[in-house]
Structure formats: C-alpha cells, structure tokens
C-alpha cells in the first residue's frame, strides 16, 4: 500500500483512511456530508496525489500524445488543458485523463490511480523517441484539489493575484515560496476551483496554507458524492473497456475530423455511424433510500420482469437530499422524466430519469 507524502498531516487533521487503488487514502475527516457541503458552499481541499502524473517533453510531443488520446490535443494552446480518453481497439474506454499543455513542448498528463501503471506504459510507448520523453512524476509531486465557490479567492490569497486571471481549463505555473506551484482551473466536483501540483517537499506547506486560509479538508467519500451529483463519470464504474465514449455521453472528447490515427479510431468511426444502443442516464430515487452501484434498474411498468440495467454508480446526494445514481439505459428509457423502479432489498422503489447533471453550480453574476 502506498502512503501519501502528506499522510501525517491528514492524520493530524482527523482523517480516517481506507485503501483505494493501492493507496492508503483519507476517506473522510469531519464527515462526508459536512465536507460535501463545505465544497458546495465554501471551499474544501482534497489530497489527490494518488492520481498518476506524467510529464512529457520534447519537440513534436503534441502529435505523439495525440496518437494515443481520443481528443485532438494538438489544438490546445500553451497554458490550456483538456479532458481526453484512452480507448481500446474495440472502441471501449481504457481510462479517462486530463492533458495540460504547460508550454508549447512541455505537458502534464493526469491519469486515474487505478490505471496509472498501464496508462503510463501506454503513454511512454506512444511518445518516447526522437527527442520526446515521458517521465512519471507521481512520487515526487503532490496534487491538491481546491474546490468550491470560495476556492479562487482562497487561492488568490495564498498564491497571489495571478490566480484570479486564470480562466476555466487554463493552467499556469506560479512562483511560490522559492518554488513553483502549477495551478489548473479544473476539478472533479462540479464546483469552481483549481488543482495544484507542486514538489512533494513543498506540499506540506501548501496544504497547511490552504487549511489556514479556511479550506475544509475533504476525503474520497465527499469526492465521490460531489462528482456523482455533477454526473462526472468514474472509470471502472460508469465507464470502462466495455463502454463506448458516445454511450457514456463523452463523444465530445473524441476527435475524428482531424484524420489523425489513434488507438480505437477505426472502432469509434464505426460506432459514430449509427445511433448508440444505450445511454448513460441520471436517475433519482423518488422515495426514501440510498442508491448503490449494482442495484437492478427496471422500467416502472415492468418491475416484475428482468432488470433493464444496473446502476454503475449510486449514492445519497447530500445537496439534493435524495438517492441518485447512473445507469446505461436503452435510448427510449433514457429520456428525462421516464419513470423507473430500482430494486432495493427485494422491493421496487420508484425512481425517474432526470436531466444531467443532478447538480449544476449557480453561475456568478
């Protein structure tokens, strides 16, 4: 089991730990609902240093990364990031990732912890050679996600005013206390905020500065309820090698029109030619209860028949005060408003397809 560089500080902050993807991770501090609410109404900080991080450098790195990622990353400007997928030759999703173009020929790639090993091998195989090099930097850096309506204010106070000029999906490297902090205006909670990467040696100082500035320490429990309310898919649950980007509603991160070759392209072209056979839908329980991954989903009228699907994610949504989940449904059942029934402990409880996402943050101004 790998330990976070800041494990001691998490213990001091009251963390309870749980194993996740080979890491000993903070599950919660004060409580999942309190942490969830802090992110929705103020600001929270998550140590997400378990995420796989790789740097890629060298002339032509853009085309090399493009040769393995679904999105045409060559269109990114320096200082811009984008979500992308690694696909299989069958058009399934091997992982989802975030690609940041720090400079013209210098990149940071962020992978899911559970897939970090194979992802890095895939990336290195695609980019290494002819002056381009991938390097795994997970262990030597710390990654903190600062999320919530007050996140940008907090970061401007801690890191300086340059943060305020950073638009969504943009990334900048700021000088801080003799070192550098990479600030990307991205996240996985449905709130405004940023993700920070800095040297492992500077991580403790940064964590402490964020807590001192009012950020609530938040664990994986709240990260999961926040991302589900925002209908952000979790690889290994809502998306995997058996699901295609389009049915997961991730067609927008697959670029086909540039003609570039990348793994899975042929299958994705075939899939793009016809309508998807199923769609990932947001489902809200209409009675009391909690939805969990794996629960059977029925058409409301066919509650006695075999299930039409199973939940790929499920939780209690603290902001909504209701059980929420996602499942792949035939397109005819995936329309918002469609009545469903979820089977919980042998009982069919009423549920309904709702518009995605469950929660959308109020826009400022």
């Amino acid at each position: 089991m790998r330990a976070l560089a800041l494990e001691g500080l998490h213990g001091e902050a009251g963390a309870r730990f749980a194993p996740f993807a080979g890491w000993h991770m903070p599950l919660q501090y004060r409580g999942i609902v309190a942490e969830h609410t802090a992110v929705r109404t103020a600001v929270g900080v998550f140590d997400v240093s378990h995420m796989g991080r790789a740097s890629v450098e060298g002339p032509g790195a853009a085309e090399r990364i493009r040769s393995t990622a679904s999105y045409d990353v060559t269109r990114l400007s320096a200082g811009e990031g984008h979500y992308a997928l690694y696909c299989t030759e069958q058009g399934g999703i091997a992982d989802d990732l975030f690609v940041y173009r720090l400079e013209e020929e210098r990149w940071l790639i962020v992978h899911n912890a559970a897939n970090a090993g194979p992802d890095y091998e895939r990336l290195a195989a695609a980019v290494d050679g002819a002056g381009v090099r991938a390097r795994e930097v997970t262990g030597e850096t710390v990654m903190l996600a600062v999320q919530g309506p007050l996140a940008l204010d907090l970061l401007a106070g801690v890191l300086g005013d340059a943060v305020s000029g950073l638009r969504p999906r943009r990334v900048a490297e700021l000088a801080w206390r003799g070192g550098t902090v990479l600030v990307a205006r991205t996240g996985y909670t449905g709130e405004d905020g940023a993700e920070l990467v800095t040297d492992a040696g500077r991580g403790a100082e940064l964590w402490e500065a964020l807590l001192a500035g009012g950020a609530a320490p938040c664990g994986l429990g709240a990260r999961d309820t926040l991302r589900l309310e925002a209908a952000l898919p979790l690889h290994g649950h809502d998306i995997d090698v058996t699901t295609s980007p389009r049915e997961a509603r991730l067609g927008w991160v697959v670029t086909l029109d540039d003609g570039a070759a990348f793994e899975g392209r042929a299958a994705l072209e075939r899939l793009a030619a016809g309508p998807p056979a199923r769609l990932l839908a947001c489902i809200r329980l209409e009675s009391r209860g909690v939805l969990r991954e794996g629960l059977p989903v029925h058409a409301r009228e066919g509650a006695g028949a075999p299930p039409v699907s199973r939940l790929t994610s499920g939780a209690h949504g603290p902001t909504l005060g209701a059980g929420i989940g996602m499942a792949y449904l035939p397109p005819a059942l995936a329309e918002p408003g469609t009545p469903l029934a979820i089977e919980i402990r042998g009982r069919a409880l009423p549920a309904r397809v709702v518009a995605r996402p469950f929660y959308r943050r109020p826009r400022a101004g």
Binding site: L27, Q28, G31, I32, V33, A34, G221, T225, R288, G289, V290, R292, A315, H316, P318, R345
Partner: protein, 132 residues
Amino acid sequence: MELPQGLLYTAEHEWLAVDGDRGTIGITDYAQDQLGDVVYVELPEPGGRVESGSVFGVVESVKTVSDLYAPVSGEVLERNERLDDEPELVNASPYGDGWMLRVRIEDPQQLDSLLSPQAYEEVTRQEQRGGE
C-alpha cells in the same frame, strides 16, 4: 465514545434499554461513528415481530449500508417515525432521539446473553485493533 451504564449491548452494536417487559433498541455511539452520516433507516412496522439475533432493519450511511440485529425477540410496539425525515438523529443522539424500536420482550432469559457496557467496550476495542 459514549457508553451508558444502564443499557445492554450486542456484539453487532445495538443497545437495549429494559423497562419491565418493554425494550427500546438503537445503535451505539461507536456504531454511528463508524457508519458516518446516517441518511436512511428502514424499520419494521408496529405489530410486526423481531427475532433475537436476526436482522430487523437496515441503516444506510453515505458510505455504507449495515444490517440491524435484534437483541431480543418480541412484538414491535413502536418505531421511531422521526427517523424517516431526520435520520441524522442517529448520529446526533444515538441513545436518545435516535432510538429505533420499542418491543415487548417475550423471554427475559434472552437478556442474559447480552453484553454489559464493559464487555461491549472490549468488543469495540478488538474491532479497532483489527481495523488497523
């Protein structure tokens, strides 16, 4: 961890308060702390029965779901309806407003097999050691 002296306990983390042939059942402070934020409690209706050592309901927190085990057998006299709308009472007041069921205790001999506060505390200590 709060552990009232006047109650009996189960190794599955329920408590029982005995008042004549009536028993009140809930889950312990240790249990609510381990579960985290309770968001749903499923309980049998009055008139139903619970059986000693058997599952009588379910408590769901944000992170997990856990069965509830009856400390004694008997008829359900009352369930705590406040928990329908305020399941968080289980966290806030596990021995008070967060109580779950009132039952008629059929066989007082079953009380002999329940745990004293001291014996229950030992159960929680062993669990915590096992969890580390």
